[in-house]
Amino acid sequence: MITSILTYIFTAITIAPIVYILITKNVIRAVFSLAFSFLGLSGLYVLLNAEFMAVVQLLIYAGGIIVLMVFGLMLTKTTLNKGFITQHRSLFFGSLVSFLLFISLAALAAQSRFKVGFIEQTGDPVAQIGQLFLTDFIIAFEVVAFLLLVALVGASYLAKKSGE
Amino acid sequence: MTDSLLTLIIFFPLLVTVVVLFLPNGKDLLIKEIALGATGVQLVLSVILFFTYDASLQPEKWSNAFQFVERAKWISLYLGDYGWLQIDYFVGIDGISLLMICLSTFLLFVGVIASWNLSKNVKGYFILYLILSTSVVGCFAALDFFLFYVFFEFMLLPMFFLIGIWGGPRRGYASIKFFIYTLVGSLFILAVMIGLYLSVEDNSLADQTDEVVHSFSLVNMMDGGYIADGILTPGNATEFLGMNIRWIAFIMLMVGFAIKLPAVPVHTWLPDAHVEAPTAISVLLAGLLLKIGGYGFFRIAYGIFPDAAVSLTYPIAIFGMISIVYGGLTAMAQNDLKRMIAYSSVSHMGFILLGLASFNVQGAGGALFQMVSHGFISGALFILAGVIYDRTGDRGIANFSGLAKTMPVFTGFVVVFFFASLGLPGLSGFVGEFLVFLGALGSDYLPKWIGIVSISGIVISAAYYLWALQRMFFGQFWTREKVWEKTMYDLTARELLLLIPLAILVVLLGIAPNIILGPVNNSIEFFVNQCFEQSQLYLAQ
């Protein structure tokens, strides 16, 4: 029961900022409301037995990506009087497409049967995750490491060029 | 030596091309000499071919009708449900291709001399030229449809550039037009080729005997090696637009080759291409490339679809007749000497259609002879037109008058070749026309009036040639631009060197046509008989 209530609360925390982002034209506000949304999402993750993921969400998204975006905004701010206000375009087209997608996907989802069957969790999930990183997901782990290296090298090189 | 003689003839210029490719840019004269040598070797080899050809061979089937046969597996591919696909390097000649090859090598040799004055990008020119010579000869020798098609396509691009780069002021237009027309024609041929290869079976070279082997061998196609239910197998009742599929295929081939030939009404690329092409290329265009259309009729359209050919003699003959008369009439309306000659080619190529349509030995022999003779005559005519163009940069018939005064020798040659082209007996042009008329009027398949109307072609051709002669060469000496009067000198030694052999050949063939028709007579007879027998066989199915 509590879980349900918490779920609804966190859902609200997630959805409300998203709706605000949809409406607002202010970029900086949108970025910060995105942080709130992520907060709600990590709450949901906790409810879904994914504490590790909730932490990651908070650390990387709220702590990393959002900050990165804010920095980006600062560095590319055009003019003061224009501020962080942006415009909407293809409003009708965009809403139509996304709305229709939502409707049709929802209709399909309602007919679908997902593979849900409760299983008993054994042991510490976080420890399990750590183990998985180095066993089943060792390849992915190494690949993502290399990927980050690539991103690092490339992005820094590009950024260096922009500084020149 | 004779084992690989054909291959040598075909690929020798290509070998030389590689040599030329690595020569430095400046050595124009050397390149010309090399090209001359290469085509000269080709010519000598083809003369050897001519004399070692066994004229007495009397084949019973197409499979033993060819000499100097070389065959090697090229591409062999397993296509699952379809069995094996087999492409061979398969060359060989019978009388028909023998003559065509000899004609080609001769004209290619002449063409090199004709382009001796060239100074713009000599290396590129001769590389293209040599590639062209390989593909032309290869086309005439190929007995594998795929190989034929490859050579056929291969011709397109060198020609495109030879016209497009070294041509006259409207070369871009002409080359594109040439390219597009020929390409469209070749697409028709491609479609039929694929249909044919799906419908035939040929196990002669295959290791796998338990599977169906589809091969592109023309010989097998001509001998009727069809599988039971192929799309183009005789007796297949598939209809399209109310016509049997074989008929459709034949018509597609006819259209494809008629564009190359060219026959009215798909001839309009020819005048433009001729007018814009440089002299030597005009010579080749008229002398060889058109003949590939005619050769295609012989070897492919008639050889493989005799049943359709027999049934469609009437329209083919009518198109031939229209080409003869209409081409002549349009030639008369031209103001450009080269254009006139080009249209006269259209007219003369009509004889090939008419001769083939008559479906007898005389007609076929006439068509073949016409191809050879037109090769020489039109070659010479384009060289002559090129002479004036060299001197003045103009070819307008109305821009000159009385050239006989300043250029008597030139005029003499013009008279000889004009008369040869208008079919004066004693010169080679007459023989082909005579045989074609003999065939057309004696044909069991054609009504007389087609032949009779076509005979008016000889009057029309006389009309435009003599009119041009009168306007350009007779009368008081006059040129539109005063400057030209000074540049009007008579033939140079090089031009004489070009024209005298051609003139000798034209006279020789006119007096004694049997020196070339004799050796190939068996082939022509066999061609006609085989077409006839097979058509009866196929039609019965």
Partner: protein
């Protein structure tokens, strides 16, 4: 036989050689080649002498077509004639062409002509005949257009050749018919087989022969042929080439059907009459002779048609002499007219008159030959014409068709009249040229004298009124003499003499020097009344040709236009290719390079623009399209599964 086989090729080839040799040597070419021709003449005499059995030579030309010659008495004699006239003409030309820088070319062409003509006469196979037939036509073309720098002459040459070519096409058709119908393909075999050809084939041959022999409706070319040098006219367009048609018909007449022969007879008669009428009013000295030639050829053709081909051959023979004589004489007149006064047209009879005193030898030669033409007794022309008239009369009697004999007789009278007129107008009356000139060199005189002399009867027959008494008759037609009996009939004899005399008389009455018409002649113009106009314009045959040519040219330019505007565009307009070319035509002239881009753009205008319209440069629109497509796919799935 061995002798024959040795000299035959020589006879055949000598003219060609003498032509080539003559052609190489510029100044002396005519003289040199004359020796060659003389040698050939000598050989031909031997040939005629020794020839007994026909000699047939054949070899394979094509697999199914033979090439062959035969030499029998008829063509041996005609070859002799060709040699003889050629020699005379060459000798005559030595002076006539003295100042022409192109003498060498002239000689070469003459030699080439003689070669072709001899080949024609010797041909046995029809294909061979056609070959030389065309070569003769070509050499005639070259000789008519000898003075190519004068546009009118080269044009006349072309027209003459074209008219011939039309007829030749029919001849070719006839030859092909013979092949395809399985008839014998040589004269000797045709004669031996006795098979009759079908009428169509016969008509084709007849048209061919009519063309070469300048019969209606082809006779117009002969007047145009007068543009050539006058000796050439004498040789080709009077004595030899034009008789080729006659010769051909003589050869094939056994194979022709009855109605074919009627066509020949009527055609010949009509031509004879028409040409005689046309000759009445001409001003040009050569034109009179040209029409006269046409008329006489009509006689010969007529003779064949009525079955009197012996007489036709005889007339061919005699006509060759006196007409050549007339032409050479006219040539002499023209030559001296030209030397006397270069400003006036040397061929116009209105500028002449009284030349009798200035050119006495020419005058007498012309007189004798002219009277021979008119058919006065004791001259050769009378004899041969008598034979034809008799034949036509007998034919008229047997068929009941008197049109032919009536026309023939009328022509006889008209002939006498126009030649009388010509003689009177040219040689009698006052001369405007004061000085008297000696007639020059032997080269001019000798041929004239020879030809005039040979126009007397006794060279041909002892009996001056019996055409079958021709010396060569027995030689040529020994086997036929018994079957046909065409000795002259008294009525015909008297009738023709009366007509001739009255024709001459009327001519004298009208054109005697003191007569009104003779005096007014010098200032006369083209006739204005209808009959005169018809005559003067040669029955408007040239107008007729012009109409045809006009029509033809319309067709030609129509075709040219059609090709450029319709076919090119139509073909181009079919399919994708077409659009390409059509666009190319539009753009290329301005900008060759952009054309390619442009026409591609136009092909793909609809599709291409549609396609790339998705390719908005705006990234979000692109994403939108992507998502929209996915949406469509989803919906598709939703509804279809």
């Amino acid at each position: 036989m061995t002798l024959l086989k040795t000299i035959w090729p020589l006879i055949f080839i000598i003219p060609l050689f003498s032509g080539i040799i003559g052609g190489l040597n510029h100044r002396q070419s005519l003289k040199l080649s004359s020796f060659g021709i003389a040698f050939g003449l000598f050989l031909t005499l031997i040939l005629v002498w020794v020839l007994d059995e026909p000699l047939i030579l054949e070899w394979k030309w094509l697999e199914s077509v033979k090439f062959g010659f035969s030499i029998d008495r008829l063509n041996a004699l005609l070859v002799l004639l060709v040699y003889l006239i050629t020699l005379l003409v060459q000798v005559f030309s030595i002076t006539y062409m003295e100042h022409d820088p192109d003498q060498g070319r002239y000689t070469a062409k003459l030699g080439f002509f003689a070669f072709s003509m001899i080949g024609l006469l010797m041909s046995n196979q029809l294909v061979t005949l056609f070959l030389f037939w065309e070569l003769v036509g070509m050499s005639s073309y070259l000789l008519i257009g000898f003075w190519y720098q004068e546009a009118g002459r080269s044009k006349a040459a072309r027209q003459a050749f074209m008219i011939n070519r039309v007829a030749d096409a029919f001849l070719l058709l006839g030859v092909i018919q013979v092949f395809n119908n399985g008839y014998a393909t040589s004269f000797t075999e045709t004669l031996a087989s006795g098979i009759q050809w079908d009428g169509f084939t016969g008509i084709c041959f007849i048209i061919g022969a009519f063309g070469k022999s300048a019969q209606f409706p082809f006779y117009g070319w002969l007047t145009k042929a007068m543009a050539g040098p006058t000796p050439v006219s004498a040789l080709i367009h009077a004595a030899t080439m034009v008789t080729a048609g006659v010769y051909l018909l003589v050869r094939i007449s056994p194979a022709l059907m009855e109605w074919n022969l009627q066509v020949i007879a009527i055609g010949g008669a009509v031509t004879a009459f028409m040409a005689a009428v046309a000759a009445l009013t001409q001003f040009d000295i050569k034109k009179v002779l040209a029409y006269s030639t046409i008329s006489q050829l009509g006689y010969m053709i007529l003779g064949i048609g009525v079955g009197a081909y012996q007489a036709s051959v005889f007339h061919l023979w005699t006509h060759a002499f006196f007409k050549a004589g007339l032409f050479l004489a006219a040539g002499s007149v023209i030559h001296y007219m030209h030397e006397l006064d270069t400003t006036k047209d040397p061929q116009d009879m209105r500028n002449m008159g009284g030349l009798q005193k200035i050119l006495p030898v020419t005058f007498y030669a012309f007189l004798i030959c002219g009277l021979a033409l008119s058919g006065l007794p004791f001259l050769s022309g009378f004899l041969s014409k008598e034979g034809i008239l008799t034949g036509s009369w007998l034919w008229g009697q047997s068929t009941g068709n008197y049109l032919v004999p009536i026309l023939a007789f009328c022509t006889a009278g008209l002939t006498a009249f126009y030649i009388g007129r010509q003689i009177l107008l040219v040689f009698f009356g006052e001369t405007s040229f004061a000085k008297k000139m000696l007639e020059p060199l032997v080269t001019i005189q000798a041929p004239l004298i020879f030809l005039a002399a040979s126009s007397l009867w006794f060279w041909n027959a002892i009996n001056p009124i019996d055409p079958l008494g021709w010396f060569w008759n027995g030689y040529l037609f020994a086997d036929l003499a018994a079957t046909s009996d065409q000795h002259s009939i008294l009525g015909v004899l008297i009738g023709s003499i009366v007509l001739t005399l009255s024709g001459l008389g009327v001519a004298y009455w009208l054109f005697r020097p003191e007569a009104e018409m003779a005096r007014g002649f010098k200032k006369s113009n083209e006739p204005v009344q209808l009959a005169g106009k018809i005559s003067f314009h040669g029955w408007y045959i040239e107008k007729f040709y012009d109409q045809i040519v006009w029509l033809f040219s319309k067709v030609v330019f129509g075709a040219g236009w059609f090709d450029k505007k319709i076919i090119d565009r139509f073909v181009d307009g079919v399919g994708v290719t077409g659009v390409v070319i059509a666009k190319v035509i539009g753009w290329f002239d301005q900008n060759v390079v952009d054309g390619l881009v442009n026409f591609m753009a136009s092909i793909s205008q609809l599709i291409g623009r549609f396609v790339t319209s998705f390719q908005s440069p705006k990234i979000q629109i692109q994403i939108g399209w992507l998502l929209l497509t996915l949406l469509v796919l989803l919906l598709w799935f939703q509804y279809l599964t």
